[in-house]
Symmetry: D4
Subunit: 242 residues, 8 copies
């Protein structure tokens, strides 16, 4: 068995190389036909716990997260935690986006995966890639993301739409998810990965007006560009710049 051990040792050197990461590493991309969007406990009471964000910005971010389903015609599952209690209901603008989506009102389970109705809704969607954001990051998002990873789902955490009490807690929660293979991604990254090509209209809506609304930095650059084409004139000294 000595030579076997030698081979194993050699193999483990390769593993070591893998850990040192000099090796091809698969790149999993979002496929809009295999993606489910979760709106997890983005409730009006819990919103007050999202202190790692400017409150106006965070409001926009959580609505934008929910609106991803509209842009790409993704299936959506909504869930809340004890919504008659202090946590409160979902914002009605989210409810109005998806009047037909399952809304699982958990009576007490912290980890949504502990709720059978929720598990069923997720499984019924039949997708392997799941986008998620919730309040709080350290509890609702982390517990569900880790539960989904334990089930073998690929999980994309929209880091701009989860919130918690401090930046330290956000960071260690994100590290914890990342260590379990959760992808930590931005809203723009999700949009671009699902869209793939700027020439596509990947769902029933055009991408640019959606970005203009939910990612206004891009909208503003586009507006400046369109205005220049429509009405722009070269100003003195500008001619030589490009």
């Amino acid at each position: 068995m000595k030579s076997f051990l030698t081979i194993l040792t050699a193999a483990l050197t390769i593993v070591s190389g893998v850990c040192a990461r000099n090796h091809a590493v698969p790149f999993e991309r979002l496929d809009k036909n295999d993606t489910l969007l979760l709106v997890l406990d983005l409730q009006v009471g819990l919103y007050n716990l999202a202190r790692d964000w400017d409150p106006t910005l965070y409001y926009n971010n959580l609505i934008a997260h929910a609106a991803l389903g509209q842009l790409f015609d993704l299936p959506v599952v909504l869930t809340t935690s004890a919504q008659q209690g202090p946590n409160g209901p979902l914002p009605k603008e989210i409810l109005e986006m998806y009047p037909d989506a399952p809304l699982i009102e958990r009576q007490g389970e912290v980890d949504a995966w502990d709720n059978a109705e929720f598990r069923k809704a997720v499984r019924d969607a039949g997708k392997s890639q799941i986008i998620v954001a919730g309040i709080t990051t350290d509890v609702c998002t982390t517990f569900l993301a880790l539960s989904l990873r334990a089930e073998g789902y690929s999980v994309w955490a929209n880091v701009e739409a989860s919130g918690t009490t401090t930046e330290l807690i956000r960071d260690v929660s994100n590290m914890r998810m990342e260590a379990a293979g959760v992808k930590l991604v931005s809203l723009f990254s999700i949009v671009c990965d699902l869209m793939r090509d700027w020439r596509n209209t990947p769902g029933s809506k055009e991408v640019l007006p959606w970005l203009n609304q939910y990612y206004p930095i891009y909208g503003m650059v586009a507006r400046g560009h369109a205005a220049a084409i429509n009405n722009g004139t070269i100003i003195p000294g500008e001619g030589g710049l490009v």
Copy 2:
């Protein structure tokens, strides 16, 4: 004249006391019947220079600034700087708010007060209190605010709706305006000062829905409150808290 000098010296001691600020100091409040709202160079190209803000947040802040006129039925003057050039036009959602307001397209004057048409528009409004925000804070906002102070207007700078390249520049510009008597105020401060009393409907719109849209932190607290009244139930252990 000796005793006169004595009196003067005594008086100057009082002045010294004033500077030491142990003395009544007048408090000027916003009066919605004496207030003009300025939308100054909040242009889609200049928006890119507002780096002291998260770009999504700043977009919301500049729209909210413009919307103050709608809430309190204030007269509004719009102005732009060289809008066919890189600075670009105003966002169309602002133009659509005030189709009848004067829009002064300055061809080159940096300080809006250097433009006769703009001066006329401001003077025609006939108000003594002016709310302003612009891009950039150090140039457009500061130059106009100081020009208005030199004319004897009271000026309220909405610090959440001006933007510039760095926080240092923002801070020294704010200090410079403050030293000339400009009031540095928040959006919420402007709303509350114009409203005076939560029981008022100071213009043609209700305040709370407006806040819900532009100051969502208050909207969210209100939603939680309304939801509790409508559908809330006391959860275990909650009874003794209040």
Copy 3:
């Protein structure tokens, strides 16, 4: 009148010196017999708007503010804004501290000074120095502080017990109050100014246990000191340090 003008000019040079601040400037100190403590809109709903603080820390700070009255036997006036609405009631631990203090429930006035009952309560206290903290800093605290300054009261703003949505708003609001002669002070500064001498027991309570509870950094240093005296032993190498 020429020589008069000369004298005036000379005098104004002195004023200029005053502004350059090379001159004695009076120092007003808190006098526990002339001080009123205000608890202004520190309501459980408004607490959610105090985003410039860690939420656990801010909770402690607002309770500590209220407890200043107990330590120095100060008269206290409590007031709330529209407390049946989203702003909510005061924390009950504050109410229980001062069962006999006036509690002015304003139905709508944003600036507490606009409420006649509140004005009466403040005037009835008969003090010239007022300590205040409220939520939000830019609205409740600033409006009342400026109103009190306009009445000629001396005002101490406890900067650790007011809260608002962002640090920028906190800073410009503090600057605005400071420009009107409001003293911006810390909890520890208020305690030490009212106490004057560590040998005093300025009210009915001892200072050190109070600090141990509300300013634990001092309490911890004191505990280490007391433990060293009671049970401490010099460890190797420690002998030469002092």
Copy 4:
């Protein structure tokens, strides 16, 4: 052996996949019947070294850490380092919480695991999951957490209750622990994981009053909710928000 090598290579490709994290990853949850709480060197002298926290906040956090045992009836082991020396004793409020818990006064061992009495106390508790926090993060917490991981224990580091001299040291220490499989978690995450369901009363105390005391942000949202149900009235404009 060639085909064996092939299999191994294939297997290592799977390992590579695991490292790329496209694979189910187990999620270990806290089980209140298998959990031990450690209070490690949270001494009044060492408290002065916890400079990565506001001192008032950190005081609250370390008391809250200790109080976890009361909420879930967890076994608790207390230990101190050279407590007659500068490090000082534990705060008496912690000692009073657990008069019957083992208190191991280490005379000199930095790593608590080097002390036989401490090892015995931990082993006697018979649990496999250990929650820990100490001062300093880089020394006391890290050394013990890594020692426990080397013994095969699961370790949850309450990142809100350890402290050290700088944020950089905190961060690299947390990274070091995380690389050894220590879970970096918040107080709220520990509570929710042990509680599992909001309908549970997992120990002899109710969860909500405990949260109200040690995690006041949640307590305040709950108070607002309860107050709305008890005494709330819908204010103008609020009706349409939910």
Copy 5:
């Protein structure tokens, strides 16, 4: 004299109003025909003390400061402190900009105004408005700025081109200068104030190419604008944005 006292008291009430800043306040603008540019101790050795800036950024800022003279044909005075010693010489690119400008090599005076040759150079320029930046902010810039203010010059401190060891020192030094009437301004503010109108070519150079080099954020917006006019095409969904 009683009525005189009454008048004085009334007058002092007006002064109080001035301090409360409800009064017209003069606005002094930069006049390119009355402005002198100072390059003060921006030496290659002292550069290492400018720790309140990213070093690459600060290098660009100090070169941009020097280049203001080229854009507006301003007179320039250069000075150094003990340049054979550790402080080192000026960067040669600055020397090459102004081969004919006075370069005062102070052998030891910290405050440049203590050097007779420097005072002469400044006075010979015959301007009343002086733009200055130096290293360090707290010593070279502050001492000279205050000396110039004591002489009655108007002083504009380019806050982006002075540097010192910490942000705290920068801030208190800026406050100290501001209290003596020094204007704290940005590079862009100086350019726009001297230029007055975008249609001007205020010196021998065009403004836009200068901005493109030294204030690239504006250059980039202008390049995007010019490119859109030259080669741009409206992309799908963009049409409706403006």
Copy 6:
């Protein structure tokens, strides 16, 4: 098979050790003969989205990134995304650096690797080590870096030359790349790794003048050193310092 399992278990213990990182780990260094430089979407419109950097600094950083090819005579591939649209063209100073390099104008593909022409250009370069930077970090840089890792390329991400909207997004994107084995490196690190020895002139240019231009902190230290040798004199008290 039992003993085989034993060996495997022993082997896995070694793997565990590898993960615990007590084992030799290969160190891959940049080889200038095996390196390709990518300029990815550093376009004048997209530049406005790079909000995690001071805009002046970032401009310098992206030009410095492009200039790496000149210093080490590296092959360079340029690519743009939809450059007639809002994203705009590359800065002309980059185009002028490499008039003969392939410039792949992608019409719509977000991930450059999805474009066949780009893939061909990269493969034709025939290098195994790729240096990359792009806008935005979370989309352009991350997607391409992960695609290249999936192809088995070694990837060095120049973290100073990618930009995105927030620091949080930058950090999670960097973590995501790092987890796939992408090396996160600084400009100076790339230069020093390619140079290997300060005595080398690794391409057709000298390193020090290049650093003086693009990494001025080093240039300034070198200038001070050269000036001291050329013209320096020891000042009083300096003699004893070294």
Copy 7:
């Protein structure tokens, strides 16, 4: 009296101009023959309250503050607050610097000026300019600085040697002192102001070795300069830089 009023009004316009600060403002400089150095409550127990500084840095700063007296042969007064209590004694290295200086051990007075012995020691020094630093900034430093200002002393607060619990408290305390005419200055500013000219040896010690010890950033630049002169050689490419 009408014309008198006219003159007064004109005069007040000048005052207004003074406040607008377009006027010469005196610049008071430190005179080493008229300066007293105060070491105020820099006690080993209070040191633990100085949380606005890295603790190692702050230790160096407080020792450097004390050492100013040695460099410039300034008179020094030392004072402590209740030093047998938790506040503890002064560091012995400070006591050893000034064995003959008055050391006023206040038994209880918070504001040192309340202690007759301390007042006598300050007055006996016979200086009009006082440099001060203490712990905490908001209490010890502020109270004494304001008391000294009320007596007409000029006060220089060394902002690097006072400490307190948070940066917010530091900032508002500094603002409060600044409003009373206290100069907020850095260590380097104090040294340079007292020294006036680099060619001076203003006391019995040379300045450069002192700076090397207490302001090492300058020492390091000087060491590099001296080493270059002593042993330096121009490296390839360096020749053209200066």
Copy 8:
């Protein structure tokens, strides 16, 4: 071979568990008999590139790093990079600590491991654990640390004694080292790991006076403790605190 695959799969599940980190992980501790201390390029010229630290603090940190050898009688190897050039020599206080230690003056090699003399000095020391710090973190420290890891050494990077131009570069460099198994540790962590027990005198010096000098936060707590034992008296209200 099917069952073999089954076993392998099972084994890989264990590996997966290892990655999920639910498994014992070895804890390597520093052994003072097996440790070598490296002082790497901590040169007076390079010091100017260490911008991620306050300069006074960083000076103290790099001296403290060097002094570790004195406390624990560790072998020390010193090395410099091109020290006649801009990088400059080591501080003489470090050279004086170790007059007999090897000092390897590299003429050009960036990575110290590329220098044969340095490799020999390290190997001759005969230790397997190496503590290192250098300037810059991203180049000198990272390259050597990774080279040492490739040789199988255990490496402890003292994160407080390396420096570089920005915090971002520091962080990604630390992540890069951590991924290769480098331990990122604080000064205090190194001291405590080498000391093991507070009762030890691990080298020829006592630990506490060393800490008092290089880690003054602990020294100050110890001084307060010793002073309390020597001269302390319980103050009013203190008795009940412990």
